[in-house]
Symmetry: C2
Subunit: 320 residues, 2 copies
């Protein structure tokens, strides 16, 4: 049983713990194709928030309460950077986290691609899931917002962290996407997949940039594996994060139905064969895909594994 | 009263506190021309041990007991780097210190020369002394040692920190020196100097690389200012560090007289007009320069300022 998961950071990382547990019960293999659109360079360090969230979470090094970064984190370097007046000062970099970025930046500087760097970092964390960057090429999510001088674009992190998503977004641009290629192993994993799961990540800024890599969406849609998505919206609100603000920019309703419409049913030229929504969203219908309901709150690993089990059953039901 | 000090790191930094105190009493200006031969790149960070030692020491941020790096230092990043198996693991980088290196590396990466970066970093520390890198160009001290396969060269830091100076050094090579230029302001400061002091730093690996920058030694020797050196050797032993091992490589006796001979009297084609030795070394004679004795232990700022006062009196005595 080979499962490929398209995923963003925090929520996707939590979901992957359930996928890993499910696969371990059955001797299956899990490959995560991870969003790199949030990646950025701060203080000369290459930062990959989603890859790190997944790596730390699966490796047992994540801070569960804060939701991102390392547990037992300290902030000495960031305080010192502020004392120098170094910008950006709005992006918190923990000391433990910085070590990851130093290793990554050094390896990238030495010419290794991000996929090789990720594999090297994972040698320490043993995540039990193969982590593949969606692409080794530059693909950066920028956000177009209104300003007094008309529209301007800023990096996703600036919009998300510095402005807390408060600047009304007009649209999202995946800079570099058109000339990016899928990372090594991504197309092969999709071709060999028995099931493709779309994690309950932000559809607009986590999953969309993965699918924006030329050839990647086509590989999912044209593949033989059933594609099942798990709704990141429960009862009209995002489980976590600011998907509501992102969906609003696209004029998509913040609901399980709205996101289903955004992804589209595979039977109608879209992405998904199956769509798993929360019990609270029972009754959602969407064209060209099969909807099933289940409790979707990932309250602990057991609950998350139960979600995955239902998603896999749905995959079985829609398999062709 | 314009005083220029040629200096290395820790010992020179301590000495500069005395020079600064002396200059403050008289409304004088101090410029330190600092060795960059120890500089290196570790984990992608540009590290300038001597510039930082001087900056931290004069700025009140140095760890006086350890003798290098920041006070109240923590080591979280280094521990994490070790957990990744990242090399080099033998070079301790404190968390506070890393912030300095991040700011420096980012600015260098953006195209600023080291001198401009140093000025920017000093804006935080207000060292009260103008810090000028001897050169903005690459100048790295390498050490030639014997090995089973014949001689090999290693970076000074590897010899000094990793091997604790235990590998017998054959010679020291200042890689890049021949094509280096004095840093901005260095020649101007020397031309305008009323006195040039040679700090009690390691003559072989701290002062020699400064003087190895083409044009720098000539500017000192041909200038109108008297040149007075302070012996880093007291009673046949280095006040601090491993000058004995360095001098041995050059077949120079580890003594105040040996170092005087290495620098040479300006009256005999060498560097110095005056040479200040410790009372314990009374009776040292050297060709072409004037020797004076005084207590040279820099036990506190008052003692160090007294040393500077004597050095300045000696400068007055040898002024032409």
């Amino acid at each position: 049983m080979r499962i490929v998961v398209l995923t963003g950071g925090v929520g996707g990382a939590k979901f992957l713990r359930g996928v890993r547990a499910y696969a371990r019960e059955r001797g299956g293999e899990v490959t995560a194709v991870v969003n790199v659109g949030d990646d950025t360079v701060m203080h000369g360090l290459r930062i990959c928030p989603d890859l790190d969230s997944v790596m730390y979470t699966l490796g047992g090094g994540a801070d569960a309460e804060r939701g991102w970064g390392r547990q037992n984190e300290t902030w000495t370097v960031s305080e010192e950077l502020k004392a120098y007046g170094a910008e950006p000062s709005w992006f918190g970099l923990g000391d433990r986290d910085i070590a990851t970025h130093l290793v990554r930046s050094t390896m990238l500087g030495a010419g290794y691609p991000l996929s090789a760097v990720t594999e090297a970092l994972c040698a320490r964390w043993s995540p039990g899931v193969r982590l593949l960057p969606a692409t080794d090429d530059r693909l950066e999510t920028h956000v177009v917002v209104d300003s007094e001088e008309g529209q301007r674009a800023l990096h996703f992190q600036e919009w998300w962290v510095r402005h807390r998503g408060q600047l009304p977004a007009r649209r999202f641009v995946f800079v570099g996407a058109e000339s990016a290629s899928p990372g090594p192993g991504v197309l092969e994993a999709l071709a060999a997949a028995d099931v493709v799961l779309v994690a309950p990540s932000n559809p607009v800024v986590s999953i969309a940039p993965v699918l924006a890599v030329p050839g990647l969406r086509e590989a999912v849609v044209s593949g033989s594996a059933p594609v099942v998505g798990i709704s990141p919206i429960i009862g009209g609100a995002p489980v976590r994060g600011m998907a509501d603000r992102c969906l609003a920019a696209l004029d998509v309703e913040c609901s399980a139905a709205g996101v289903a419409g955004l992804y589209g049913g595979r039977g109608a030229g879209g992405l998904l064969d199956g769509w798993l929504v929360d019990d609270a969203d029972a009754g959602v219908v969407a064209t060209g895909l099969l909807v099933r309901e289940a409790p979707l709150w990932m309250t602990d690993d057991a609950a998350t594994t139960a979600i995955v089990r239902t998603a896999m059953e749905l995959a079985g039901a829609v398999a062709r």
